[in-house]
């Protein structure tokens, strides 16, 4: 009997689902080796099919996306129960990801923006999502939207993490290989090398030992020299505090690393670590001048917690301050 495998998505963009397809013809090997029992984006199974399975009967579930509503929370619990090995697939499940930036707001401020204030909105009746609506004797229910975006492991126990926005094909292949062969690392491992991206970056030799920067720029403001370390050119590149394994795809495309693979195991708060490293490079000892240089980083939370706010020490903006 082939091992049963499930794929599921929560608060995510769909890119992680694409990533599975990005395995290209290798996806056929995967399909041949396993029995996919649940994959809403591609196959017609329903929640009740999962509910009917015996507990622990799914060998592995790849769950992508953060948890930000009650339905996702329920599905995470259901799949956890039915699954032997639960993998947090991608940055959103692992760290909160881009949706995790919602933790700078809460339900009310997000709903007001989306259903009331957005300039692109047509909502003359001012309809807002509700969890229950009665019409003609029928009751309709919608999941409850949370104030706070959560990582998967803040909701259920997670066995392994596949980093990335989205995980790259090599990372996925290796994970599936490890699963099928039973050669899995200790529970809780991130299935990618535990070294910083700078280590595997082709521009590494052009990164000076000590960097002193007189200005910071956004990638759109300067022409980045393709042969030199991006950070050394004043464009914040988070390679020094980000886990490798992606093949430095962004840098190869002449764009800085934005940190989607998350931190190495030695870092507790990815954003604070990157902030620390980059701020120290401001080339001045004078308060006002430092301020001028660091003004080149107008949105530190957005830059340093782009993928990891819910997994950070503070997890969210204070509710009373939203």
């Amino acid at each position: 009997m082939k091992p049963k495998v499930a794929f599921y998505w929560c608060a995510s963009c769909g890119g992680c689902e694409e990533a599975v397809i990005d395995l290209a013809e290798k996806v056929l090997d995967v399909v041949a080796a396993v029995d996919i029992v649940f994959w809403p984006v591609a196959l017609d199974f329903k929640t009740k099919d999962v509910e009917a399975m015996a507990d622990g009967s799914i060998v592995a579930t790849f769950l992508n996306g953060a948890i930000r509503n009650s339905e996702q929370e329920e599905m995470a619990h259901l799949l956890r129960r039915k699954t032997q090995v639960l993998l947090a697939f991608g940055a959103c499940a692992q760290l909160g990801g881009i949706p995790g930036l919602g933790n700078l707001w809460n339900r009310d401020t997000i709903f007001n923006e989306v259903y009331r204030d957005s300039p692109a909105l047509v909502n003359p009746d001012g309809v807002f999502p509700v969890t229950e609506h009665r019409d003609n004797g029928h009751t309709l229910r919608l999941p409850k939207f949370f104030d706070t975006v959560l990582t998967l492991d803040q909701v259920v126990d997670v066995d392994y993490y596949l980093p990335g926005c989205p995980p790259t094909p090599n990372i996925i292949e290796q994970a599936i290989g490890a699963l099928l062969s039973g050669k899995l690392p200790p529970k809780g491992s991130v299935l990618a090398p535990d070294v910083a991206l700078c280590e595997e970056c082709s521009r590494r030799d052009t990164k000076p030992e000590k960097l002193a920067l007189e200005a910071f720029h956004r990638p759109s403001e300067v022409l980045i020299d393709e042969s030199k370390c991006i950070l050394a050119q004043g464009v914040p590149c988070l390679g020094a505090a980000t886990r490798s394994g992606c093949g430095a795809q962004c840098v190869e495309g002449n764009m800085p690393c934005t940190g989607c693979f998350g931190p190495t195991s030695r870092v507790r708060d990815a954003g604070a670590k990157s902030l620390s490293a980059i701020a120290s490079m401001a080339a001045s000892n004078d308060e006002a001048e430092i301020e001028r240089i660091l003004a080149g980083i107008p949105d530190p939370a957005g830059m340093f917690y782009r993928y990891s706010l819910p997994a950070s020490r503070l997890r969210r903006k204070r509710q009373e301050a939203v």
């Binding site: 959560l150 507790r268 902030l275 939370a301 020490r313 204070r318 009373e320 301050a321």
Partner: protein
């Protein structure tokens, strides 16, 4: 009746200056607000922003950093590094809803025991007015039910 709010402050003091100043304040019997838990570090440049956020996440209402005056750092550059990190960290903290008065950096030399007292009293007063930060509760409880 609920207990009156006593601000909890975590103070990271450099071993060569502010820590000695706090000691001096003690031996000269300068009384000041007893709200700080002092953590001695070898240099203000050793204070990782992770420590500061960790303090807030674990229930600190304020964080005070004390280092040597510019030019006086025993490791030359440490306090400048601290200043650079502090500036950006301060902006990050404000994005996270942590008010300005809760995070403070002061240069205090070993002989300035009096200054420790002034700063500490002032910080406790300001945080008392702000009220508890309450991150510990928020960080721990939200994880269970969002």
């Amino acid at each position: 009746m609920p207990e009156p709010f006593e601000p909890r402050i975590v103070a990271f003091f450099c071993n060569w200056c502010t820590y000695l100043a706090a000691d001096l304040a003690g031996t000269s019997r300068l009384r000041y607000a007893p709200n700080a838990r002092v953590i001695r570090v070898m240099c203000s440049g050793r204070i990782d922003p992770q420590f500061v956020l960790d303090a807030f996440a674990r229930g600190a209402d304020g964080v005070l950093i004390g280092g040597c005056h510019p030019g006086d750092c025993h490791y030359q550059e440490g306090n400048y590094k601290c200043l650079r990190r502090f500036q950006l960290l301060k902006r990050l903290a404000s994005q996270m809803g942590i008010e300005d008065d809760r995070l403070r950096l002061e240069w205090i030399s070993a002989s300035e025991g009096e200054r420790v007292r002034t700063v500490m009293n002032d910080m406790v007063e300001k945080i008392r007015a702000l009220g508890p930060l309450g991150r510990r509760k928020e960080v721990e409880e939200e994880a269970v039910v969002a």
